[in-house]
């Protein structure tokens, strides 16, 4: 019999019951909650007269709606009354049920996928869910982590389990080493360009190969974060020394004897040598260039040295139609150079790229330089209060401010523009977030997905440039 994949191991370890009809009950170790996808779940619980199954498995924080300025005002600082009610509702629900919440004024508040790992509330081998598709982020720790809908949030609250079908296994192997200036973001965009936004549908993806294991935890999180943009709910990296070193000493991490026992177990969290995958995709790390998306789907992406595609060259009629539509929305011409795309705003933040390493990379590029006067705005939004504090201790805030970037308070911000931070109609934005869908960053807004270093380089130049040219 073939060995097990990492996903097989995680699945088996969380299996409570295999049902005859092919579905299974999977136990959930950690449940993260935020204000947008939880109110209806708490309401459902109340209506049915049910109690949460295991209070201490839940951690909550408001992130999607929170303003990124004037945070000392707390909830009162949320100008939009509808947003404010949503945040207040989360506070009320957590208080009522006794769930740990990092509230808006807590230093530990932040984007839910940043704070889980930061607190050590994300531990290797856990099953983790959240009413948010980017929960795949936590797979970077060798976790079984994925997004769920609100009905499932209620289901997990009430039963600590989920009803699941086992997915298929895919291995995405990035061999060799990445070139300088090429980051986790570029790797994952290149992977999505290769397999497409539906390429991972029905699969749990394991990212492997030397180029992946050479990366920091932050970069691995960036890659797993965007598994969902490749269609896969689950993206994982096996546990190695980098993982264990990152977890050590964090608030929720085990201590003493428990730590040793945990580490012994964590070291088994990798696919066996003879494990079989349903699909294997290989890329050479050395081939990957800094990426820029030009369209309205994350697979519409190319290297910074490339050009906007010509729809007449596309044979698949549905894809051709998609390109025509995207270029119209984006206001771009076929065959134009990526570096000729002019920008209006730059956004550095989101659960994809708002961790300390991301901010360091961006700061390195803008240090001693100025934001282009062409831009209306360039902003940096750290992923959590703790990331913000650390960045300030390292002096990154001063580098950004001196260069002309705004230094904001933590939250999702312009990643989805549910708060006041958004694009105007027709504006182009170099963004380190994960989705370039129509209207995602504001009605009529045009998003280009890039790494923090590329966003910083674009901020200085007012258009895209190859960040590697600025590194010498």
């Amino acid at each position: 019999m073939a060995g097990k994949t990492l996903y097989d191991k995680l699945w088996d370890d969380h299996l409570v019951k295999q049902r005859d009809d092919g579905s299974a009950l999977i136990y959930i170790d950690r449940h993260l909650l935020h204000e947008v996808t939880s109110p209806q779940a708490f309401e459902g619980l109340r209506l049915a007269g049910r109690k949460p199954w295991r209070i201490d498995a839940n951690i909550a924080t408001p992130d999607h709606n929170v303003p990124t300025t004037d945070r000392e005002l707390g909830v009162e600082g949320i100008v939009d009354p509808v947003s404010r009610i949503q945040v207040e509702t989360l506070d009320k629900n957590c208080d009522e049920f006794g769930i740990l919440e990092f509230k808006i004024k807590d230093q530990r508040q932040g984007i839910v996928h940043v704070i889980g790992p930061e607190q050590g509330a994300t531990l290797p081998g856990m099953s983790i869910v959240c009413g948010d598709s980017h929960t795949s982020t936590h797979g970077a720790f060798g976790c079984l982590a994925h997004g769920i809908g609100t009905s499932e949030v209620e289901h997990v609250l009430a039963t600590q389990c989920l009803v699941q079908q086992k997915m298929k296994n895919m291995l995405v192997k990035v061999n060799g080493t990445l070139g300088p200036g090429v980051t986790g973001k570029d790797v994952v965009l290149a992977i999505i360009a290769r397999i497409g936004t539906a390429g991972g549908t029905g699969y749990a993806i394991e990212f492997g190969g030397d180029a992946i294991h050479d990366l920091s935890m932050e970069a691995r999180m960036t890659i797993c974060n965007m598994s969902i943009e490749a269609g896969a709910r689950v993206g994982m990296v096996s546990v190695d020394d980098t993982t264990i070193d990152y977890v050590r000493g964090r608030p929720f991490a085990p201590r003493g004897e428990q730590w040793d026992k945990a580490v012994d177990y964590w070291r088994t969290l990798h696919s066996d040598d003879d494990a079989e995958f349903d699909k294997v995709v290989e890329l050479d790390g050395a081939d990957i260039q800094p990426q820029v998306s030009w369209g309205t789907s994350p697979e519409m992406v190319t290297g910074v040295g490339g050009t906007v595609p010509d729809p007449t060259a596309e044979e698949d009629p549905i894809k051709r139609e998609g390109i025509v539509r995207a270029l119209k929305y984006m206001g771009l011409d076929p065959n134009m150079k990526i570096t000729d795309i002019k920008l209006d705003r730059v956004f550095i933040g989101s659960c994809t790229n708002s961790r300390i390493e991301d901010l360091r990379e961006a700061a390195k590029v803008v240090k001693g330089r100025k934001v282009s006067p062409i831009l209306k705005q360039a902003m940096v939004v750290p992923g959590s209060g703790l990331v913000k504090t650390q960045a300030e201790q390292e002096g990154l805030d001063r580098i950004f401010i001196e260069a002309g970037l705004e230094w904001r308070d933590p939250g999702c911000s312009m990643c989805l523009a549910m708060n006041a931070d958004k694009l105007g109609q027709g504006e182009h934005c170099a963004s380190t977030s994960n989705r370039n869908f129509e209207g995602r960053q504001g009605f009529g807004g045009r998003t280009h997905l890039v790494s923090p270093a590329m966003a910083a380089a674009a901020a200085v130049n007012g258009h895209f440039v190859d960040v590697r040219e600025m590194m010498n």
């Binding site: 049915a48 009430a158 269609g231 139609e321």
Partner: protein
């Protein structure tokens, strides 16, 4: 949950691939703490010419006459015919809530994104996967025949056209069972409460660090 055994209704064609959940229901409407009332904002950015706001009366907004759901022949549609990778992107369950609130009961596409597919079943909506060629044919028939309807039978797992042509589809047994009977998943799971407790106790022994509070 509302059960669904059979359904017959007018088909509306959503003729684009990779329709994401941001498009189905834009983020500003996610601020609601309710499950209902999203119908008027379904496909908001495609449907109206102005930018929609939460809690707004949509009846006076300028509509986009080209958008399919604004055309009289599709106004009472309850079957949505769609293209590849429908429902990709965000996990927001507001997407099926909005489709449901508008009046859709069935969505047919060559493929769906996983989370959206799953969310549909939790809300009494049936997503049906049919081969791309069949979907293409249904698009043609929908365009060619005003008032075109399809009949769907979840019991027999078939879609039938007005001319009597039938296509079968797959759906896993658990989801089908729950939808046919309108079952509440949570109730079904709690029948296994003892098993869950047993699993939990054993994990407390073998992996106690999973149950720690912060140090």
């Amino acid at each position: 949950m509302r059960a669904l055994q059979q359904h017959q209704g007018i088909v509306a064609p959503m003729d684009r691939s990779n329709v994401d959940t941001d498009m189905i229901i834009p983020k500003q409407f996610l601020k609601s703490i309710k499950r209902t009332g999203f119908g008027p904002n379904l496909f908001d950015e495609l449907r109206y010419l102005d930018e929609g706001k939460p809690d707004q009366d949509c009846s006076n907004r300028p509509i986009n006459p080209d958008f399919v759901l604004n055309q009289d022949r599709y106004k009472n549609a309850s079957v949505l015919l769609a293209r590849r990778n429908f429902g990709c992107g965000s996990s927001r369950e507001h997407a099926p809530w909005a489709l449901d609130d508008f009046g859709f009961r069935v969505i047919i596409a060559p493929s769906f994104a996983d989370i959206f597919y799953n969310n549909c079943f939790k809300n009494g909506l049936l997503p049906i996967v049919l081969d791309e060629e069949i979907v293409e044919k249904l698009f043609q028939e929908t365009y060619d025949n005003e008032g075109y309807q399809l009949s769907v039978d979840l019991e027999t797992k078939t879609v039938t056209t007005p001319s009597g042509e039938s296509f079968s589809f797959e759906v896993d047994d658990f989801r089908r069972h729950c939808l046919l009977n309108g079952l509440d998943d949570i109730g079904v799971t709690l029948e296994d409460a003892d098993l869950i407790r047993e699993y939990e106790n054993q994990r407390r022994q073998t992996a106690p660090w999973l149950f720690n509070a912060a140090h």
